[in-house]
Amino acid sequence: MGKKIPDLFIIVTLFFCFAFAACSKDDDDEELVEIEPDEEYFAGGKLGTAFNTTAFAYEQPTPVVEQSPGLMLQFKYGEALFEHEFTSNTEGVRHGLGPVSVRSSCITCHPGYGHGKRMERYRAKDFGNSYLLVVTDENDNYISQLTGMPQTQAVAPYLPPIDESGIYIEWKNHTDEYGNTFPDGEVYSLIYPEVTIERSAFNVPMPDFYKVRLEATIGIYGTGLIDAIPDDSILAQYNLEKSKGFTLNDVKYQPANFIKEADGTAHPGRFTYGLTRGTLQNGPGANAIWNITNVTRSDRKYHYITTAYATAMSKNVEIQNKLGKSEQEIYDDLMSKNLLAEMNDKDYIDFMVWHRGLAVPAARNLDKPDVKRGKTIFYDAGCTSCHRPSWTTGTDDYTGDPMVKGKLPRYPLQKIWPYSDFLQHRLEMKNDIRTGWCRTTPLWGRGLSERCTGASDHLHDMRARNYTEAILWHGGDAKFAKERFRSLPKEDREALIKFLESI
C-alpha cells in the first residue's frame, strides 16, 4: 500500500498535520490514561487473568508467572511437555511412553488447551478426541479388570487392554418431553452417544455385563485459581445448598472420605466430574501426565495397569517369545513398584509450574446491552444456584505434594469468576454420566472455545453442540432453570447465550 503513494499523499498528509497541530500541542505527553475494567472482567482475578481473545487465549501465563523470569522459563519448559508427543524411546526427550497408554500427548485431548471435540469414533490418535472410556458394571462401579481410564494403545509386543477397532460410537436422536420445541414454536434437536465395545476387543477377561460411557476432558486454564479456593469455602457452599434443600452427594463431604494427599493433608474433592481430586498438586493433570502416558516418575515408580492385565500379558506365549522372558518375569516387570523414573523431577516441577500458571481469559463485552440483559436473565432464572459466579481465594498456601511445595505460582486473595459451585448435581440425562453425579462445570472462558480449539461442544460427553443444547439437557436439580430458559422469548434466550459467550 505504501509503495506507490503519489505526491498527493504528501500534500494531504501535510494538510492533516497542520490541521491537527493545534490539537496536539502537548506532543511530548504520550501518557495513555488506562481505565481499569470492572472486577468482573478479571475472571481469574488480578493475578490470574490474561487479556487475550485470540486463538491463543487459553494458553496464556498468569501475570504472576509473567512477572517472574524464572517461572516464565519453567512455564515454557512445562508447556512443551504438555504440547508434544511422548515416545516409547528409552532415553531422550519425552521418553518412556507405555507399555500401555491412553494417549501419547496431553494436547491430543486438549486441542487448543480446551475441552476437546465431539467425535464420531474412538481412536486415541485422532487429534481432539478428548474422550475417556468409562467401563462399568450394572452398579456403575468400574470394571476391576480395567484401569479407570482404560488404555487402547500399547507398545509392541504388548496388547492394549481394549482394541479400539472394536469400539463403536453411535449418535442417537433424543426427543425430550416437550417434543424438542420451545413454547414459541422454535424446534431444536438433541443427540446423545450410545457406546458399545465388542467383547472380542478386550484383551483382559471381562464379566458378563459391562456398559460403556464417555467422559471428555475438562478445561485446564484457571485450575490454579480453583485450587486456591479454601476448603472451608467449598464446605460452606455445600452447607448453603444443603440448607436450601438441594440434593447433594453427601458422602463426599464426610471428613473420612476426604482425599488424602502425599503431604498428609486431606481435602474435599473439587476437581473432575466425579470430585475425585482435592488439590491441583495431586489433581487430574498431575496424575494424567503419569497415567495417561504411563511415563513413570520418582513418586509414581509403577505402571497404571491392573493385575488382570499383567496376568493376561504374562500368560501370552507370543509375548513371552518376543520378549524372551518367562511368564513370571513379564508379570514382575509390569507390576513392579520400583521402576526407573522416566520423567525427572525437574521436568515434572516445570510441568506443574505451567499447569498452575495457566491464566483465565478475561471476560468480554459485559457492558453491551444484550450481554447485560443476558446476565440479568442468568441470575433471575436461577442458573447461579449451581453456576456460582464468584469466589475469593484464600492465602493459597497450596498443599498436596511436597515435591512442588514452594515452587509454584500462587494466587492469594483474588476474586475470581468461574461460575461453578464445585459441587455435584444430577442432571438426569439419557445415557447419563457414571453415577449420575456430575460436578458443575466452570463456565469461564468457554465462549472462546471455537476460536481457540475449532470446536464448541459442551457437556461431559460433548453431546451438546452449542450452549442452547447444553441448557436443554439440564434436568434433575437444574430442570427448573431450564424451564425458565425455555419460556423466554427468543431474543432473551439469545441474550443469555451472549452472556455465556462473554464470561
Binding site: E31, G112, R364
Partner: protein, 409 residues
C-alpha cells in the same frame, strides 16, 4: 504455543468499547493514521475528541487490507508452495523406491529440504487448521520414535499395509505422531547432514518413507484447502481431501479459515473485527519467535535438554530457524518476497515509526545471528553465537509484543 502478553492490562480490542478512550496520545495516533490512510479521511477535520467511530472505521479498513494480503498472499501462497513441494517429495521417494540410486536419494533429499523450507516459512501461522486439526504435531513431531520405528520395520504385516495403495491412509491411522511427518522421512534420507548412500537405505525403510510422505502431502493439502477453500485448490488436491473426508472449515461450518478472517466482524466469523484478526496474526509471530529463542535454540543451548534439536539428521536446524524468522518477516511485511502489499509494518509505521524500525531491525538481527551460528547447529548448540541467536529471537518476541500493543491501543 505460548504468547508473551505485553501487558497485564487489557488490550482495547479485547474488551468492550466501554474502555475505548481517547487521550492526547490517541490524538497523536489519529494524526499518524492520517499519514497512512489520508485519502480515506475527507471528513477527518475536527480535533477528533468525538470521533471514535471514524477512527475505528478507518483502522478497520486498514486492517482489512492487511488481513486480505495476509490470507491470500502470505498464508495461502506459502501453503500452496508447501503442498506442491510435498507432491514433489512424494514422487521423488516413489522414484527412489523403484530405482534405488545415490542420485535419487540426493534428489529426494533436495525435495525434502525444499518442502521443509516452506513448512518452516509457515510457522508464524500455526493457529487455525495447523492447530485445530492437529496438523502441526502430525507432521512436525520430534524426536523420532526410533524404538517404535525399529519395531514397525520388523513387522511384516504393517510393512505390507504401508506398501499398499492406501499406505498413506494406513500410516495416518496407525502410526503415532513420533513416526509421521518430516522427521521420519528425514531419518531415512539423511545421516550426519548428508543424503545417505542408497546402499544404506533398506527397501522396508523406503516403503515406510513413501507412505509417510503420502500422508505428509495429504496433510499439507488440507492446510492449503483450509485457508484457500476447497474449491480454490487443484482437482488433485480436492479429490484427495474428499476421498479422505478431511474437513477444511472452521468447526465444520461453511467458512474456510481464510474466509473466517476475511469476513471478520460479519455473522458466522469467529473474528469480531479485522483488528481482532490482526491481533491473532501478530500473536502467531510472537509465538514462533518465542519458540525459536526459548525452545528450539534455548533448550539445547542452556543445557536444559541437549536432545531437543530439530532436524538433527539433515543438520537443517539453522535453515529451519531462519525459515521461522522469515515467516515472521513475511507476515509483518505482508505477502511474501516479490508479492508485498498492505502490511502490519505499514500500519505500525504510521502510528509509531520508531517501533516499526525496531521491529524490522529485530527481524534482520535474528536472522543474522542465527546464520552466524557455526554449522551444524546440532554440534554447535553451546556456541556463544547460539546464545546470541537465542537472545536475538527473544528480543524479537518482545518487540513484537510492543507491536501487538500498538495494534490494540
Amino acid at each position: 504455543m505460548r504468547i508473551a502478553s505485553p501487558s497485564a492490562l487489557p488490550t482495547l480490542a479485547s474488551l468492550s468499547k466501554k474502555f475505548k478512550f481517547y487521550t492526547r496520545y490517541e490524538m497523536k495516533r489519529l494524526i499518524s493514521l492520517s499519514l497512512f490512510a489520508a485519502v480515506a479521511l475527507p471528513f477527518f477535520m475536527s480535533c477528533g475528541e468525538d470521533d471514535p467511530v471514524n477512527t475505528e472505521e478507518i483502522t478497520e479498513k486498514t486492517f482489512a487490507a492487511v488481513v486480505e494480503q495476509y490470507v491470500n498472499n502470505t498464508v495461502v501462497s506459502t501453503y500452496k508452495s508447501l503442498a506442491d513441494e510435498t507432491i514433489g517429495l512424494y514422487d521423488a521417494l516413489v522414484e527412489l523406491k523403484a530405482n534405488k540410486t545415490d542420485n535419487k536419494v540426493k534428489a529426494a533429499a533436495q525435495k525434502w529440504i525444499k518442502a521443509r523450507d516452506y513448512w518452516e516459512l509457515s510457522e508464524a501461522f500455526l493457529f487455525g487448521p495447523a492447530s485445530d486439526f492437529g496438523i502441526d504435531p502430525h507432521i512436525d513431531t520430534w524426536p523420532l520414535a526410533k524404538d517404535e520405528l525399529v519395531a514397525e520395520l520388523a513387522n511384516s504385516a504393517h510393512i505390507s499395509s504401508m506398501d499398499g495403495d492406501a499406505g498413506d491412509e494406513w500410516v495416518a491411522s496407525f502410526l503415532g505422531f513420533g513416526l509421521l511427518g518430516f522427521h521420519g522421512i528425514e531419518y531415512i534420507l539423511f545421516e550426519e547432514g548428508q543424503p545417505k548412500a542408497a546402499s544404506k537405505i533398506t527397501d522396508k525403510e523406503l516403503t515406510y518413507a513413501v507412505a509417510v510422505a503420502g500422508d505428509l502431502r495429504n496433510q499439507c493439502f488440507r492446510l492449503e484447502a483450509s485457508w484457500a477453500g476447497l474449491d480454490k485448490v487443484t482437482d488433485e488436491k480436492k479429490e484427495k481431501l474428499e476421498a479422505l473426508e478431511m474437513g477444511v472449515t472452521v468447526n465444520g461450518g461453511k467458512l474456510s479459515y481464510g474466509e473466517d478472517m476475511l469476513n471478520a466482524g460479519k455473522p458466522g466469523s469467529t473474528k469480531t473485527s479485522f483488528a481482532d484478526a490482526c491481533e491473532t496474526i501478530i500473536e502467531g509471530c510472537i509465538t514462533i519467535a518465542d519458540e525459536v529463542g526459548a525452545m528450539k535454540i534455548g533448550m539445547p543451548y542452556s543445557g536444559e535438554d541437549v536432545n531437543y534439536i530439530e532436524s538433527p539428521y539433515s543438520f537443517n536446524s539453522k535453515v529451519d530457524f531462519v525459515g521461522n524468522i522469515v515467516s515472521i518477516k513475511n507476515v509483518y511485511l505482508g505477502g511474501i518476497e516479490g508479492k508485498r502489499g498492505a502490511s502490519l509494518s505499514e500500519y505500525i509505521k504510521s502510528v509509531n515509526k520508531e517501533l516499526d524500525t525496531k521491529i524490522n531491525q529485530a527481524i534482520d538481527n535474528a536472522i543474522a545471528k542465527i546464520e552466524a551460528i557455526p554449522y551444524p547447529f546440532a554440534k554447535n548448540f553451546t556456541s556463544a553465537q547460539a546464545g546470541q541467536a537465542m537472545d536475538a529471537c527473544n528480543d524479537l518476541a518482545e518487540i513484537l509484543g510492543e507491536a501487538k500493543k500498538a495494534l490494540s491501543n
